[in-house]
């Protein structure tokens, strides 16, 4: 029985900054991540990967490898079930996933897994890989999205027919699907607009860049029960996907979540786990599989390279009247790029009556893409927010004012369909306007740019239990791996409901057998959805405590309320206690101590499919300094403003804002996959896939705006993803402000910027 969104509530713990409960383990090195776990008799697994970007597999001969002393098993796709091509559940096609985990019939990218070996040491396993003979028939490959869509392109999947067209085609294609969003009459509106701007944008493949490579250990008992210790963004997902791919009962697999060293979406799927499971079944021994950094880059899912065309129509009064957008995203070897999300986000901040958005999902011979923090949205924002800046310049309107004049607000119809409820776009724009950064003077060769970002945020399933200990302390059992401090936020919410000290709450991330189903840690959903489950489970405990108190006092349960961790009698109940000379207040510790006598242990639980996730808006402001001789861009000052709904633990909200900004900065200025003509990645390591280091960044200012989400008891909105959306266009706009040059290709790295500066005569 809480206030909706908590607007008028006085919080005791929400909004404070307690030290995270798992913190000491992490600063002492005691916490166990995926590769930190070993078992006696354990074997080491390594994967043989394709040397070709596209080839038919004629034959695999593992006999020499098996003959090597210390090799216990070799597996290929013969050892896993063949799934029908259309086996899918929602957006996940399990046949594709199976063929990505181990190639069947064909390899589709350099690095594609072909076989796996389990041996008594890593050295022996690696030697065994070189002894596996694979007879390949190389096929023509395609690495460029335009080439992949062109007639006559090498076809990756003979059965693929473009979905979503008006007439279903009967020729195979590399265009997996087309989607479309339309409203009004865009051609008419563009024709009537005072002026039209049309631009093309190109972005490169980038990786999430998590520091911890994928790692797991699998062990199968003689009775067929498998246990997997894995770091991931979802141990329930690992269980479900592995069971599906291997045709096992879900109850045959238990997944124990290790701590995770970064994911950002890249660990919301499986690569090694099914292989380790099959190897452990085949050998009867525990099997450990850890990727090398090179494998992470060559073979795990990056975020797609994209081509985006936008055409905006605007009037001189500052109103944007129409937009036409075409998004082409590289899915990699199998369909499933986030082009739909990109298409849904690209116009989301704008209140428009006329638009057409088309999105194309295109396969080619590169690794199958995976989610990366607000998947699909950053390239889309790069396109839209750069053109918005051009319009602002053209109209000589302040860029924040232009956005404000066209901003969506409560009741606006989102570009992707539904009407917005309470949202905070205007509030974030106004907060930035007032920030001292906005008016601070700029130096020579410096420029300033801003951009808006949007992300939906997910709800989905969460389960939690809150268990009252005999002394009134509590345990919160949940099932979302803690990737960024969520244990602390969940403990805060439980402490708030129970009315006890946050350090008297122990948050636990439990395995798949010990807690109800939880969807992934991702989608900016944990504080929202798992938080909702924890709040409900805590309220369940409170309800039970009030009932117990009522029974002990022998008064009506409706006369008992919960206040500051105590059951408090009111009304007639209070009168009765007063007459009896009894205190009308019973602390949680007393109720807990008497639980056995009054009915048994007090446990609250909740399992839900959370609805009403609140979308998030953010606006970023950046000052850059451009070295015109080298094209190097330095980030001189950075301010992020974001609507968090309600910041449960402000430090971790700020952390998401800063971390997302840093990733966006890297994406903007330097990160890209470099492929050679054979489809081999030339920079599969941190030296040449250059992510920002401490010296590349300044302190990142954070302003948290709170427009509570009406559908969460405390008003929470997801915060994790939206911060990666504005940086790229903000930086592009700042570079233009500094140099007059518009960058429309990523990354805006020194050679690329220098080339543009030279072309424009401004080097």
């Amino acid at each position: 029985m809480t206030d909706s969104n908590g607007s008028d509530r006085k919080f005791k713990w929400v909004g404070t900054r307690p030290i995270r409960h798992d913190g000491v383990d992490k600063v002492t090195g005691r916490a166990h991540y995926g590769a930190d776990f070993d078992l006696p008799g354990m074997l080491h697994a390594h994967v043989l990967r394709s040397p070709h970007a596209h080839a038919r597999i004629r034959r695999i001969d593992a006999s020499k490898a098996l003959a090597l002393e210390g090799v216990k098993a070799v597996i290929t796709s013969d050892d896993i079930p063949e799934l029908p091509l259309d086996e899918a559940s929602g957006p996940t096609n399990f046949s594709d996933l199976s063929r990505n985990v181990l190639a069947r019939d064909k390899v589709l990218y350099h690095g594609h897994a072909v076989a796996a070996v389990a041996a008594t040491s890593t050295r022996i396993a690696q030697e065994a890989l070189s002894l596996i003979e694979v007879d390949y028939e190389p096929l023509p490959h395609v690495l460029d999205i335009r080439a992949a869509m062109a007639p006559g392109a090498p076809i990756l999947h003979d059965h693929m027919r473009t979905k979503g067209l008006k007439e279903a085609p009967d020729e195979p294609s590399n265009i997996a699907s087309k989607m479309e969003l339309t409203r009004g009459d865009v051609d008419q509106a563009l024709a009537e607009a005072d002026f039209v701007i049309e631009r093309e944008f190109e972005t490169a493949t980038v990786h999430q860049g998590y520091i911890e490579p994928h790692a797991c250990v699998a062990q199968t008992n003689e009775d067929g029960q498998t246990t997997v210790w894995a770091s991931s963004q979802g141990h329930f997902m690992i269980r479900a996907y592995s069971a599906r791919l291997l045709r096992l009962d879900i109850s045959q697999i238990k997944v124990i979540p290790m701590e995770i060293g970064g994911g950002f979406g890249g660990k919301t799927t499986v690569y090694l786990e099914p292989l380790a499971i099959v190897l452990s079944r085949k050998t009867g021994r525990p099997v450990k599989a850890v990727m090398t950094r090179e494998e992470v880059f060559r073979a795990t899912g990056p975020a797609p390279a994209t081509l985006i065309n936008v055409k905006f129509g605007a009037n001189r009064d500052g109103k944007i009247v129409a937009a036409k957008c075409e998004l082409f995203y590289e899915a990699g070897a199998f369909p499933g790029s986030p082009v739909a999300a990109g298409a849904m986000c690209i116009l989301a901040p704008f209140d428009l009556d006329h638009f057409t958005i088309e999105g194309y999902d295109v396969v080619l011979n590169k690794p199958k893409t995976a989610a990366y923090r607000a998947p699909g949205a950053p390239p889309a924002a790069f396109a839209a927010e750069t053109v918005i800046d051009e319009i602002a310049r053209e109209l000589e309107i302040d860029p924040l004012d232009l956005r404000r004049n066209n901003a969506v607000s409560k009741g606006s119809q989102a570009a992707y369909g539904p009407k917005f409820s309470d949202i905070g776009l205007i509030e974030t724009l106004d907060a930035l306007r007032k920030h001292p950064h906005y008016e601070a003077p700029l130096g020579e060769n410096q420029g300033r740019g801003c951009a808006v970002g949007f992300w939906f945020n997910a709800g989905m399933q969460s389960s939690a239990e809150v268990k009252l200990n005999e002394d009134g302390t509590a345990v919160v059992v949940e099932g979302c791996p803690d990737i960024g401090g969520s244990r602390a936020s969940l403990a805060i919410m439980a402490a708030e409901e129970l009315g006890i000290d946050v350090y008297k709450v122990r948050p636990v991330v439990a395995d798949t057998e010990a807690v109800g189903i939880n969807d992934n840690t991702g989608g900016s959903r944990v504080t929202f959805a798992t938080g909702m489950a924890v709040i409900e489970a805590s309220q369940d405990v409170v309800r039970q405590c009030c009932e117990r108190a009522a029974n002990i006092w022998d008064i009506d349960a409706k006369d008992v309320i919960w206040q500051d961790g105590c059951a408090v009698a009111t009304g007639d109940g209070a009168k009765k206690l007063d007459e009896e000379g009894k205190l009308p207040s019973m602390p949680i510790a007393e109720i807990a101590a008497g639980a056995a006598r009054t009915g048994g242990p007090i446990t609250g639980k909740a399992s839900l499919n959370a609805r009403g996730a609140g979308p998030a808006f953010a606006v970023h402001l950046v000052d850059v300094e451009v070295d015109r001789e080298t094209g190097k861009v330095d980030i001189v000052r950075y301010t992020t403003v974001q609507d968090a709904g309600r910041a449960i633990h402000p430090s971790y909200v700020e952390g998401q804002m800063q971390g997302g900004a840093a990733q966006g900065i890297g994406w903007a200025l330097n990160e890209e996959y470099v492929y050679d003509a054979d489809g081999v990645l030339a920079n599969p390591g941190f030296l040449d896939y250059r992510m920002p280091v401490a010296l590349d960044l300044p302190m990142i200012d954070t302003v948290v705006v709170e427009v509570p989400n009406p559908r969460h008891p405390y008003g929470v909105r997801g915060v994790g993803e939206v911060p990666i959306v504005p940086p790229i266009p903000a930086i592009a706009n700042a570079i233009h402000d500094a140099t007059g040059v518009r960058m429309r290709k990523l990354p805006m790295s020194p050679p690329n910027l220098l080339a543009e500066l030279t072309r424009a005569g401004r080097a």
């Binding site: 008006k166 479309e180 919301t268 739909a340 998947p375 992707y416 917005f420 939906f456 997910a458």
Partner: protein
Amino acid sequence: MATVILPARFSDWTGGVEHVDVDARDVRQLIRALDERFPGLGEKLRDGVAIAIDGEIINDPLLEPVEPDSEVHFLPPISGG
């Protein structure tokens, strides 16, 4: 009657119709009604969609209630990263 907005990707079944008024108490009834009107659409809507009912997005809804004046959108499920 709830108003359902169907995205262009279902045009194979809807023949391009975008706005449909449906009488239904919950999502399951709504899908059944749509399937009656556009045969084959039901199966597409049942698996792997997200629905926004009056602006709130829910993944895999079936028994979610639909009000007489609700606006319902079918969306691709976005799970994030």
